[in-house]
Symmetry: C2
Subunit: 395 residues, 2 copies
Amino acid sequence: MASYHPNDPTLTSWVPTPPDHPFPLQNLPFGIFAPRPGDPRPGVAIGDHVLDLAELGLLEGDSLNDLMAQGPAAWRDLRAKISWLLNAGNPELRDHPGSALHRSAEVELLLPARIGDYVDFYSSLEHATNVGSMFRDPANPLLPNWRWLPIGYHGKSGTIALSGTPVRRPKGQLTADNQTAVYAPCRRLDIELETGFFLGSHTDIFGLVLLNDWSARDIQRWEYQPLGPFLAKSFLTSISPWVVTLDALEPFRVDGPAQQPEPLPHLQTPEPRNYDLHLEVWLQPASAPRATCLARTNFRHMYWSMSQQLQHLTSNGAPVRPGDLCGSGTISGPTPDSYGSLLELAWNGTRPLTLDTGETRTFLEDGDTVTLRGWCQGAGYRIGLGDVTGQVVPA
Amino acid sequence: MASYHPNDPTLTSWVPTPPDHPFPLQNLPFGIFAPRPGDPRPGVAIGDHVLDLAELGLLEGDSLNDLMAQGPAAWRDLRAKISWLLNAGNPELRDHPGSALHRSAEVELLLPARIGDYVDFYSSLEHATNVGSMFRDPANPLLPNWRWLPIGYHGKSGTIALSGTPVRRPKGQLTADNQTAVYAPCRRLDIELETGFFLGSHTDIFGLVLLNDWSARDIQRWEYQPLGPFLAKSFLTSISPWVVTLDALEPFRVDGPAQQPEPLPHLQTPEPRNYDLHLEVWLQPASAPRATCLARTNFRHMYWSMSQQLQHLTSNGAPVRPGDLCGSGTISGPTPDSYGSLLELAWNGTRPLTLDTGETRTFLEDGDTVTLRGWCQGAGYRIGLGDVTGQVVPA
């Protein structure tokens, strides 16, 4: 197996994976699933199936934290083993899969890790510029610190939930005059299109998920000064179930935007520091027969990279734990149809969006389902992150 | 035992507890200790001893999370059982303590809980007014939202550590001109005198510890806009090892300050909502023969109570977990010698403090040891929180 590489685009699996499927042999994302209620175990997604790593004696446990703690050499070794097991030319498992392969539709998916700390960054120049233009000063939208460090804050790890979890509309204090408040259901419920990366150690990133940082803009407006967002974000954060390793994304590395001023030495990383990861936002009202694509953008636009975010996170000397999760911050592109939030897409409610069905939206209404989707496009295959979805239910 | 109440001030224990000891029979704080390395178990502090709850078959585990999840009736029942076991008039354990009682000096203390989420509030009117006066507008120091809700933010749970943990001076980005930055060791290292409460559920508070929210004021100044404190706080948060139950503090309830405007209905709580808890800050330079008391204050000054903080925390519908920890925010009193941070005591570096040894301080220097201390004073006994201490070591 010396010349065998799991990223080889010519590899095929004995498990069928159509060309536009998110989980071909070149992906092999890790997750936690239960083939029966109460029996969680690690698995790898391959096409519409899940490979049972516990059944194969390759990995045990009800979370990926131990694997995340093992480090890049162990991750690569395990991924190569799994790739070879699933390779079309290897009869070992192909001819006798036994109970090692489950149909995805027949298993329950669970959170991939026990998440210790959750940090959310604010690293898209376009997003920060849009928000600063709307709420501060269009002529001078960025604060002076923004280009010097990846701004971030701690969020609530206890309400990070799997794709599919209903989005209960939060309640909170809302203000009309910036002087007084009422306690009522949020009226400006929003999404934030993000990726999230799971940490292995203070230097190593295990892999990526899609992340929807549901946000109550009206609660946020009243509460956020001077200590930042709190209850406007803490009611729910949704993630996709399968963690795509950085190794699988390696062929899709691209240079990031130029950085000016040059980052301080402890925040410098070699190029290519970003990934060519296509991203989409879809919205479907409860009454609509189909979803409308509201935005298409790309992770490559991100100003601060994941490595830079991690270097900043640990720059004060604080340790991190395997399984800590970092959100990228809203990913917006340069054009009005590439923004990663309704706040930006409908420009703070002033430019309502028209859906394919003729309905309009400025923020989310009860019954709306939002799905985020993302993939890297290879020659004849995709490395997909899978979907993260959620339907809004009344307060 | 129908008329037996563990808070009865006349009760005495067969374990000796002098009148000024923090852990008399009326206290019975819970913690996790290891009589031998690698053998963690729940215990209760009584005088200079630890009662071994695992040895007695009363409670198992390496954290108090399960107990915290059981709720107030179970907490009261267990506390009453322990009180009776330690009562001077009960021969059962007194005459045959066996291996159920350990000398505190001979055991290792551990974190009392697996802390899921950590929230830090900002609920002292005096502290918020001082900070607003220094950095915003002395004529108008409070933002409009402050009297409407208990401002708070999420902190890092992974760096909450036990009293005694060395305080490594953090590094970070510092600015002199608010336009550019350098990466260097923090020069304005501070303390924040706080209490912390552990949650049982979304309505029940298990108990209290002392908490030092170590803070890098210069890192905070540059990073905190617009999303709040991040690396300036995340390097270390120290807590005292013994969790004092709200039941033990019950005799010391006092009314809180008047609240104007009247809180919205979901934030209203019956009086007495505060506790008469005396608090002190002590500082000892490495070269000094003794510590100097820098501040004396009282928890009773807090504008927003713990119950109100918890009601706010869950007001958006987000669940909490047993073992989540909430910091009170810096506890400052009305007089300049009752402030809970060096930032306020030395007024942003402009009024250096003189220690008993003649040295001066505006912020912490390497080698300094800070100890926070707190207790409720009963008639002939104290309900103490124990100390939380830490020595600054170089970056």
